[in-house]
Amino acid sequence: MDVALFVSCLADQFYPRSAVAAVRVLEHLGCRVHFPAGQTGCGQPMFNNGFRRDARALAERMIRVFAPFERVVTPSGSCAAMIREHYAHLFDGDEQRAAHARALASRTREFCEFLVHDLRVDLRALGASWGLPDGRPRRVTWHFSCHLRGLGMTDEPARLLGQIAGVEPVPLERAEVCCGFGGTFATKQPEISGHMARDKAACLRATGAGVCVSGEPGCTMNLAGTCRRAGDGIEFLSPAEAIAASLGLMGDAPAERAAGAREGA
Amino acid sequence: MTRPTAPRSDDGCAALLARVRAALGRDTPPRLPDPPPPDDALLRLARPGDASAALFVERAREVGMEAETVEPALAAGRVVGVLREAGVRRVALHDDAEDHAPGLARELAAAGILAVERGGPAGPRALFDADAGVTGVLAGVAESGTLVCVSGPGLSRGASLVPPLHVALVRESRIVPDLLDLWPLVRRSPGAAAASSLTLITGPSKTADIEGVLVTGVHGPGRVRVLVVTGS
């Protein structure tokens, strides 16, 4: 299947490894991955802050750049939600553009959603395995980012994790509560945002897991920064990275060893 | 019947309607609207077969009322027994209590329990001196354990509100399964549809305003004793 990858600006700049992992996983699962070079951003921050004209301009660009592709897959749930929930409304009153927006929306998938519902992947059958180097199971928890709600997703990332041998999924307390990122909310109301993030970090700490799988670069930035400020050692990986590691697609020994060392300590 | 009240030119209603019409983008008067009917399949929590005294008693207990069944002939005696246990000296009595529990007036007199004076110059204030209220009810809703009381001649609002104990007599035949089934019954009952006050009672008065600690008997009765009169 031909798939066009949309990589959010945050992932491109701050978490490129997560996008590389997505490419590797999709190719391994038999997809031909395209990366339209003309892509820039989905316009979410503009839209969320009320700059609709600017958001519209970016949406038009996105629709053009991704028009030739049958499937658009993005590891960022919030970008997928922007396209699926909001793009058509940006063109209220312009039926032609609204139709193009709806068409793009119908072809857009979040990464885990794509694996579970489109590819119907069975990682166990593919031999996915991600236990610790010393043979013990790896305790992994996962972060439910708010945008999954708008996409109609529930536990797709958890389901995928459950298909990986050697992984011990640990549920997160108060998983449904927002981590406090909210885009510019984090800088407009930092006291509230920081409080919410610290609440979430405390729940993460309580799981005793060494890894938190988080599919949303913004949430990851927020939570990783909060955990680091608190001196917590939990590691954040995207679902793509976790899956890629379990399929041996990343080949990055040093980081693996470091993660293993902390768990064993 | 009450006298209907007439509109006054300065009561603001015409101006309000004009503003509403403007906001709705209409300048002509509206047609009679056709609302979406309440969806029984989505709402219903109990079916006709569930209209049982047993379910009603169970749910009434769950919401904190004391509930039991009693045969018609024994109802009056049971009421008096409940009142004596609670040390009641004066009772606010609804006119329909006797219908639910034949012989009640006689048994109360025999037990030395006085019915407080209704109406008169003291009016509803007299109810403040009662230790208990004894009333019949219009109906019961099995699914939620709810009592349905209507106001009317000889059926004061206060008897089920002011005294700290409310003894309610419910006829088994008047228990409907679900709240959805209540309104047809209300419409069928003379006087009920036009009652000035219809009250659904689902438990004793309660609050958790202070630190979430549950306290009963805040303003209304702290104890509600329900007697379901079977086979009636």
Binding site: E191, G225, D252 | T2, A15, L45, S144, S151, T202
Partner: protein, 514 residues
């Protein structure tokens, strides 16, 4: 004037500085404990109770209830006309007030005409909105709040902080002190004992009151009835014992019929307080009949507009579906962190954030629509399916259009948008950002508190502990990551730009290359 000295908590200077209020609130440990604990518990309770009752039907039921309310609003003129006619037929006297001042004035006129000296009042958000209590007291009518929470708040000169559980922010010791001070009783902090003290005090008021004031949870068009849903029974006292009853109700509370009322009765208490029904649901249709033993001689219904017809316009009409259940407050992590007073207005939480700007001015309350991470928990909780996040972003757009947003933010967003207009401007901006932030990380990153193990685990690399300018707000609360040495685009260009490119370094793998 009762209560402790100090300004009324909702009497905030305008424009409302939410950030300052939020900062204070989020450091208030006691507030966190009460509000945080209680709301989480109630939100869980809502989900549990609704799941138990409705199972898979819950979401469909919320949409159904929302559709009924929407229909009613779409035909509000017809339903209002019917309600007014039926209410008059039942003997009630109906008034309509365009503004808060008018609503209060109607009530005062009724009190004056009947020579009322003592008023007992049951909880009503609309009367908070209009400030009725202060108006009555100024006019010389002693007015007592009878809902236990409101009674305590009145005694203590405090204000409600939650639509349904108004004193969620207060502890038992504070109540004990207020009672000892204002009622002259011996200090106790036992909730049961305190409640009984209030009960006795209020009974005396009920006996003597000549005016009862209430709000209304619903208005039923077909019958002209006012519906009150309470747990304590004070509503029944206020509407049943005094000679005159005044019900002040927002025009949006209309439902078509008693059958439709059932839809909302099944959702209201489950959504707000995790109980199937409130203890008392009272349907009031006109004054007492001539042959009844008790009940008011006169019932006045004041239909309140006060900005609601403004909200009735198409873009915001949905907001009037609100049945004031409080579910969105309980679900909201922002409300949970800052409590109700921080919103600076009578209506707080998610619904407050979207209706307060409409009712009191967007310019004065421009911070409210931004006090949200758009997580959507409120939308999931709302029994009438109001898409609150959509309205938050709509108001944010209005803030930009009306140039309430500061020039710095406008400039910043415009610049960001321009950078994303073409691939090469994106790459240029990304390069500049990478340069600046990685330099910053080298400079300030090392000075941060370090945990060698944490460092080894985190990717992409260095962290900024304290940043200038736009980074300051972020780094006040948490660290900010430096961008990776090479972006994904760069990796793709190298790895996939040519066919069969060998696998090389994956960007960000080894920490911070220079």
């Amino acid at each position: 004037m009762k209560g402790r000295a100090g300004p009324h908590p909702l009497d905030v200077p305008l424009p409302h500085d939410l950030r300052a209020a939020a900062g204070r609130a989020s450091r208030d440990v006691a507030l966190q404990q009460f509000v945080g604990g209680a709301t989480l518990h109630k939100d869980r309770g809502r989900r549990e109770t609704c799941r138990r009752a409705f199972g898979e039907r819950y979401d469909a039921l919320r949409r159904h209830a929302g559709a009924i309310k929407q229909h009613t609003l779409d035909h509000l003129d017809a339903y209002l006309e019917r309600f007014i006619a039926r209410a008059r037929e039942s003997g009630a006297i109906v008034h309509a007030a365009a503004t808060a001042a008018q609503a209060n004035e109607v009530c005062l006129a009724v009190a004056r005409r009947h020579g009322c000296r003592l008023c007992v009042k049951s909880k009503s958000m609309v009367t908070e909105e209009t400030g009725l209590l202060a108006a009555l007291e100024t006019a010389g009518v002693e007015t007592v709040e009878t809902d236990l929470g409101e009674f305590i708040l009145q005694l203590d000169g405090d204000a409600p902080s939650h639509i349904v559980t108004p004193m969620i922010h207060k502890d038992r010791a504070a109540v004990g002190r207020a009672f000892a001070r204002e009622l002259g009783v011996a200090y106790t902090d036992d909730p049961r004992r305190l409640t009984m003290i209030a009960r006795e005090h209020l009974r005396e008021k009920y006996r003597r009151a000549d005016l009862g004031v209430s709000g209304g949870n619903f208005l039923v068009a077909d019958t002209g009835s006012v519906v009150l849903c309470t747990n304590e029974g004070n509503g029944r006292f206020c509407t049943g014992v005094p000679r005159v009853h005044v019900a002040m109700v927002g025009i949006e509370k209309l439902v078509p019929s008693m059958e439709h009322l059932t839809v909302f009765l099944k959702l209201l208490a489950r959504s707000g307080t995790a109980q199937p029904l409130t203890v008392y649901t009272q349907v009031i249709t006109g004054p007492r009949r001539p042959d009844e033993d008790d009940g008011p001689d006169e019932v006045h219904i004041i239909l309140v507009d006060n900005g609601r017809t403004g909200l009735l316009r198409a873009e915001s009409r949905e907001l009037l579906r609100c049945i004031r259940c409080g579910a969105c407050l309980n679900a909201c992590p922002v409300y949970r962190t800052i409590g109700g007073h921080a919103y600076g207005s009578v209506y707080s939480g998610p619904i407050g954030a979207v209706i307060t700007p409409a009712l009191r001015g967007l310019r004065d309350f421009a911070a409210l629509p931004h006090a949200s991470s758009l997580c959507g928990a409120c939308f999931e909780a709302c029994p009438v399916h109001i898409d609150i996040p959509r309205h938050l972003t709509r108001l944010r757009a209005q803030i930009v259009e009306q140039r309430i947003a500061g020039w710095r933010e406008r400039a910043g967003m415009r610049l960001w948008g321009l950078a994303l207009r073409t691939a090469w401007t994106y790459r240029l901006a990304a390069w500049a950002q990478r340069l600046v932030l990685r330099r910053l990380a080298r400079r300030v990153g090392r000075r941060s508190r370090d945990s060698a193990r944490a460092d080894a685990a985190h990717r992409p690399g260095a962290w900024i502990h304290a940043g200038p300018g736009p980074l300051r707000a972020w780094t006040q609360e948490r660290d900010f990551p430096a961008p990776a040495a090479r972006s994904f685009r760069q990796w793709w260009a190298r790895e996939r730009g040519h066919a069969r490119a060998p696998r090389r370094d994956i960007p960000g793998q080894r920490g911070t290359p220079a």
